[in-house]
């Protein structure tokens, strides 16, 4: 843990500061900037996964409502039956910046990851799972009734 990196951070209260010194959290510098700032799905996937091939797989399940009533709070669950899943990434193809989140799993995590996301109108929501070192994807088409500028 790099305690020195915390000294430069602004924190709201003394109690938050006290807590912060105990949190073994990574400094924001390692955040996947290029991938999150990418403006197309292809570009975001390349930034995240390089040129590795991503196979379509029904063993990746993207569960999202076909018709979402709130574009700013669309519930999405990405789960997989693949052995040894290592990571799960969630994209919304038509968003100004398609990458929504990327999770690193340990073998202790079972089933999937559920979140709520913002979507730009009608779009494919794409889930990519890395399992045993290979990449697999699947998608669900979502129509949101009101647009969100994500």
């Amino acid at each position: 843990m790099h305690r020195r990196t915390f000294l430069g951070l602004t924190v709201g209260t003394a109690s938050v500061l006290a807590g912060a010194l105990l949190i073994p959290i990574r400094a924001p510098a390692a955040w996947l900037k290029a991938a999150f700032e990418s403006t197309t799905l292809d570009e975001a996937m390349k930034a995240l996964f390089g040129t590795a091939q991503i196979k379509h797989s029904n063993a990746v399940v993207v569960d999202a409502p076909e018709l979402a009533t709130s574009a700013t709070h669309v519930p999405v669950t990405v789960s997989t039956s693949l052995e040894n899943p290592e990571s799960i990434a969630i994209f919304s193809e038509k968003n100004p910046n398609p990458l929504i989140a990327s999770f690193t799993l340990t073998p202790e995590v079972s089933s999937g990851i559920s979140v709520r996301i913002k979507v730009g109108g009608k779009t494919n929501v794409v889930g990519v799972v890395r399992a045993d070192g290979a990449l697999y994807q699947n998608q669900t088409y979502v129509r949101a009734t009101a647009g969100a500028c994500a």
Binding site: N97, S102, F103, E108, I113, I117
Partner: protein, 104 residues
């Protein structure tokens, strides 16, 4: 005063089911303030980690496409009542949060 974030951990069917809700504006940087007409700067939770009994079990990098007051749901293999589930997050301004639940 912001409403409180929440965390819950329940043992169910041989798994520990965890639900987390973080109170955070998750500003995309594109929204304009209704009153001033000025763009609200991007402000979002950037990294999140979940621990069980002190060991990291899940981590995530987030962008501004996550909803405001974002939630996170996941399950862990096994677990027993009394396990401590801790979630920590940091946003792009360096603000941090910490949530803890005892599984039951």
């Amino acid at each position: 005063m912001k409403r409180e974030s929440k965390i819950r951990a329940r043992i169910k069917g041989g798994e520990t089911v965890v639900r987390v809700l973080i109170r955070h504006p998750m500003e995309t940087g594109a929204r304009k303030d209704d009153v001033t007409g000025k763009r609200v700067p991007r402000h979002f939770v950037q990294h999140i980690e979940a621990e069980r009994n002190g060991r990291v079990v899940l981590s995530g990098d987030w962008g501004w496409g996550m909803s405001s007051d974002p939630n996170l749901g996941f399950s862990l293999e096994g677990g027993k009542p009394g396990d401590v589930i801790r979630v920590t997050w940091v946003d792009n301004k360096g603000d941090k949060g910490e949530l803890e639940a005892v599984a039951r």
